[in-house]
Point group: D2
Chain length 461, copies 4
């Protein structure tokens, strides 16, 4: 599936090479955002940042990293929609205000940002970006808040929606997660240094120990006095994003305390039991369908094989108009002897518009597949997300407008089955009721104050 | 395994967008060479080329490709050792001589290039590159050869060693393969146009039909009069490079007429039978061990699982000195619940220095693996290659200097087994005796005329 | 003389290719600032900007210019001190606030910017740049000012110091000059379109007609309803910057209504009368001393000759450390037969540190000059400027700390004479009492509210 | 005048920072070629080169220069016609052949290069460039020449036409000038090091002492044994290029032993006497007409003034199509009060197509000039040059096809006068009969063997 996403955040306090560690932390989180990247570092006095568009290595050069000196750093990788590729929107935002300098790295989406933005503009404030994240700085700069002892927590309580924040001053690393815990945020240690990241795979790369999640409604401050934690808001009913497990996160990560590959194997096992198929071979749509296909093969007893090979250099080519017209698939190729004359179960994580899947089904047919049974690891996506996942609009979402039968006919497969809601929940284990599954059910934990569809501000992170 | 490699060639005659097709043909062959790339195109009169260092998209820009107009093109991707990253060595070589302009794309290695080079210099000729490939042009420019009707075949007969050549004049595409057939070269069609490539995966990407191999000792000329073929030399005993199947080629390609993934599955099945293990799970070292691990799991009945996850952005990061010191593995991460408390069979394609494998074994132990049984899909590599595969020097090749037991102790695995020569041959099917396996046995089909170790000329392609 | 300078502004309303015209307008003003350049264009709705460091052609590419569509544009070229080469400080500033979007191009220096900055920060406002120019936008955004009919004039009246402003909204071009008229600002027409620029040489390049100056205290608004002018403040005693005539402006420009070359010829004539010399030849330090040397030759009857040739490629080379050590003068070379055995009058516009002049005097001696009589076109500079001219600090200014005799000994010239204050005023003609000559006399027309020396904000434009 | 030109060469033996000195030597010679630049350096063993298109600082970066280590270097700046901007043609050519490595820097044009090229191709040799300069290397590589003790002189004797060569082997700097001495080549010393350059201004920049010219037909070899000179050919009747004095060379240089500014002053004095004018002011077309205008003013007694100001940033802008259409003159602007109501003598070095001059005359009229009398410092150019000066084709040369009266009418001037041949010769002093003036007279010192107009090889240097 191709869903437009999102963000990864990383922070560290306490190693002399904080920027280098942040670089590799972000590299491990690169799958969470490929449109821009930034690192901000501090030596306790001087704050320096490097940001740019594109992948981490395009946005920030080796010399850039080598030049970023300090023991404290935060970083951000980000997806953004085309219109908003404005350089000043690249995070971490670095803003000077009356209280000094602050850097902001945000994963999630605020549902009352527009309201707050308008209110502050009316008072004469000027915004620098078109991101929802900037409102936190205007809240902090507000003279009514500036003198409170609980300043940061007080300001966070003005926000509604999804946020995992890393804030940085010249001396402090501050991590905070919204009271419903929409987006992940983990904490770990390397020696005496603290690290905070969206996923645990960043800890593994650096050899850091995973300590656990930042809690919903928790605010953590790390500085030369060590780590202090407070609960700035009562945690509400957990609304963890189920899509982190289905699609976004890396299989090796622990998200909301559970390993992603394990959940996906479960999804595959459950759908194999719900929707068996009389077939010769199970194949995955690489790379996102692989764990689920393994689960399907295991539970069904049908052998797993490699029906598609993925070009390793995807993302390092460009598409010429001629190639597009000729239907060149730069990503996947069929392994002919695996599919020729076979009855195939093909496993994918989800279907958005359906056009890419249709092309791949055709390639299997052209290579001689006898029967094709498609299994999707999650239920049909029928509702928009207000908390940071940028699904296509409802009109583009095939499942929002058509029945499963219509999709089966469109794709020209012999059978097509989705995971049930029950199968999904069963795969998540004990915490199943701590997840937000609004994109399948339409039941939203927090309603946006403003018409989200009309937001001129970009939905980001 | 990390072997230094090598070359891919692609040519096309007969589509108006020859350069765009060549670009995608080379993209499909990118795994055969990442150090430089070049495309030469002709509209029948004007010949234009674009070349550069790095991956295809770094070497040649979108605008470059769009500007290359013509119906005839050849391209080349190439590995080269550090010292020889001279821009003028980037292929296709484009040389003007008395007979006009010629472009040369070469995969393989000539064993008498130094002898010919010296001979022509003595006559007053001046060489432009330090590649062995340039001698073919001096042979063609030689006034003794210039007037012969069989000029090209006559000149090819002066060469010894491995070569799959694509030559291009302003009007002709010429393909030739050495009489022992060391390196692959395939021919196909798209509509009325002919395509020639190192591997069939390039045909699949373009929607071309695979017609078969260029034969050993065959010379094919394609121009406005169509395709003409001649046998410029009697084909000798076939010496097809077995390493194409073990490591280089893509699993979806047909090489020497046989599918690569199928051969690798066979290698896995054979070693599972030769060297069973009492274990809970089979895991592959991605990406090259995956087909073989599937074969092992199938033949042994032990379930396959994903013990390692590969970062998709490998090759798009840089290694800071600090990270190297901290042992950061930018490529693979362990999926902890897959290995914790398990007895594991780990399958890899080969072992060169042993240091990378050792690090990964340690990561499995750190993640809680109980037993580790390593299986290698080919026999130990103990001899250098003179035909285009750039193995490390004998002193660096662990297997050339140590017993399997010593390696097992070095790696700290519970058992270590290699494929036998017999198992290897069995996996190749009917054509087993058509392969060069000198790197395992030391029995060379053609001896070099000159001391290859002392060649100041670079070993390339 | 090498004085660190400053800014040029250009604006246009009413031609379909406003950005191209602005590009050439800035090119004509390039001598006013080489460190950064920017153009902002509007088609009445969409506002787009391009900015960058370096000369105009480094900052803004041909494609950039071609892509800037609209009938309304403002541009800026700028000098800035090293510490402040922050990209966000490059003008025109483009800021979105409650009233929409505004672009700001500023030439001059405000003396109460720090006071206003601090006041707005206390209210919760956040600043985006470290320039003094940004305060005008915060004044405009202030809800107390927003609703006034005379909003812009009202806000300008809060500012003290030197400013020639070009402001741009999506539909309007606004030009304003401070009540004392420190910096120049001219208005002209091309067909029906209006143009505004720092110097008339920009009009000449574009074939525009020069209409006259924007008056001190005048505010001009140009939009689809034509041009409207108002006097937002009573013009005070004119304080036109005399350095525009002595050094900054181009000889072909009219500044404050008077041609620059003519003033410089007058300066040369006056000093020839005040300080004659018994000599064979008059030579200029190119390029800034040339007009003055012509005046000296004319009034003295001593023939003018080319003693120095200027390398045309100055600014397009870099200085290697070795070259600096060897005293390589990349700018000027002596024409030996012109100076050998001669008694020379050498004319320069001013002396700052004295080191460059000393080197050139030595070159004349080495080439065989018999006597050297130096004449400087202005009086000694002894006081800092608060209105936008970035002289070296007082300690670096030779004349601020030493007598003319000490300087003569330091330079090793046979005689050294400066222009007198009276000679200077005489050269300026009827308007002589409309000039600020504080850098010579220390009598300042407006005192800064804050200690200018301690400003952490950069002095710019 | 805008004549397409040509080359500058520089070489040095004996300073540890040879590349840095060569960089500055070439910078002083930048006016001799702006299309490409190259430096080759040797430490006695290793030879390294850096080359590129554009001005010196575009072609070779600061880091490039810093990385070029050795005591021996040669450099080249070059003009080339559009079609031949092939990177491999950039000089110094660096070629490896049987005798080792050689670098070639050439100023001039060979008239028998095509003949030699064809002859060597027939023998099987392959050429790397389309320059005439490469033939010298094929002559040196010829086994018939290789063993001769007078090898280099022997090979030079095969060449016909104009050449000032700098050749470099890993240990030797070799300078040679053709027997008629068409192009300049000077020798000097810095400490114990020898320097060779096209013009003496390169010596001045480096603080080198000018020793004199390399003689016509002289070959100089500089290495660790010092300097050796031989006369490889009898010097014929000197044919020094008069255009070096009229236009190419810098005013501060000594060329063929005479100072350029002095010759140009003489040209101005002579034409003032031959062709007086009743006028108020003499003005030059900057920059090439300035010395001549000074001579005119001096001899006529009419005061010199600055009628045009040259934009210092010419060459650092690009021309947008719109600007071209609007007749934007990016180079010169009129100083209105200098010309308004005046009778003007305008002095230029030459007229090629006439269109640029026509535009400038019009600007003077628009600024109010009452009468315009044009004086050209040389006679009309009516014949092509075969020795390295790339005049426009005869059809584009206004003077080749039209009378002076026709040109006067075309330009719309009140009078137009050229220098006479006699006046030209008188300006050159005692050596007047040592010059080639074929472009004025059509009497060529050496006829080309081949039809030069049809040369597919580029005329270069």
């Amino acid at each position: 599936m191709k869903i437009r996403e999102h963000c990864g955040v990383f922070g560290i306090w306490g190693t002399p090479d904080a920027a280098v560690r942040t670089y590799y932390g972000l590299y491990a989180l690169q799958h969470r955002g490929q449109e821009s990247a930034g690192i901000v570092v501090s030596d306790g006095k001087q704050v320096v940042s490097r940001k740019g568009l594109g992948l981490l290595n395009e946005a920030i050069s080796r010399d850039d990293v080598a030049g970023l000196k300090g023991h404290l750093a935060v970083g951000h990788v980000r997806y953004s929609t085309t219109g908003s590729k404005r350089v000043q929107n690249i995070q971490p935002l670095v803003i000077e205000y009356s209280q000094g300098l602050i850097a902001v790295a945000h994963n999630g989406n605020l549902v009352n940002a527009r309201t707050l933005h308008t209110e502050y503009e009316r008072r004469g404030s000027i915004f620098q970006t078109s991101t929802d994240s900037e409102v936190i700085v205007h809240l902090l700069a507000d003279p009514d808040h500036a003198s409170r002892p609980d300043r940061i927590g007080h300001c966070l309580n003005h926000l509604k929606g999804a946020y995992s924040f890393l804030l940085m001053t010249p001396t402090q690393l501050i991590a905070a997660r919204d009271p419903l815990g929409f987006r992940p945020l983990c904490i770990g240690k390397i020696g005496d240094a603290h690290v905070v990241a969206s996923e645990t795979c960043a800890f593994d790369l650096l050899g850091a120990r995973y300590l656990g999640e930042i809690n919903a409604g928790e605010l953590v401050v790390i500085d030369e006095n060590g780590l202090r934690s407070e609960q700035f808001a009562h945690a509400g009913k957990r609304s963890q994003c189920v899509f982190e497990h289905i699609y976004f996160a890396r299989p090796d990560s622990y998200i909301f305390g559970t390993n992603v590959h394990t959940v996906r194997m479960n999804l595959g096992r459950n759908i194999a039991i719900e929707h068996p198929a009389d077939a010769d071979v199970v194949i995955a749509i690489p790379d996102s369908g692989r764990s689920c296909a393994m689960g399907y093969a295991l539970a069904s007893g049908i052998p797993l094989d490699r029906g598609f090979v993925r070009n390793h250099y995807v993302g390092r080519t460009f598409i010429m108009p001629e190639a597009r017209d000729q239907g060149v698939d730069i990503k996947l190729n069929v392994v002919r002897p695996v599919v020729q004359g076979k009855r195939i179960v093909i496993v994918d994580d989800s279907i958005v518009r359906g056009t890419t899947s249709k092309g791949r089904i055709k390639k299997l047919r052209d290579a001689g597949a006898k029967e094709i049974h498609m299994r999707i690891s999650c239920p049909p996506i029928r509702h928009p997300c207000f908390y940071g996942i940028d699904f296509p609009t409802t009109t583009e979402l095939f499942a929002a407008k058509h029945s499963v039968e219509e999709l089966r006919d469109f794709l020209k497969v012999d059978s097509l089955q989705y995971q049930s809601i029950e199968g999904l929940l069963a795969s998540l284990g004990e915490q199943a009721n701590h997840y937000c599954i609004a994109c399948f059910t339409g039941q939203y934990p927090v309603r946006p104050e403003e018409k989200m569809e009309k937001l001129s501000m970009e939905t980001h992170s």
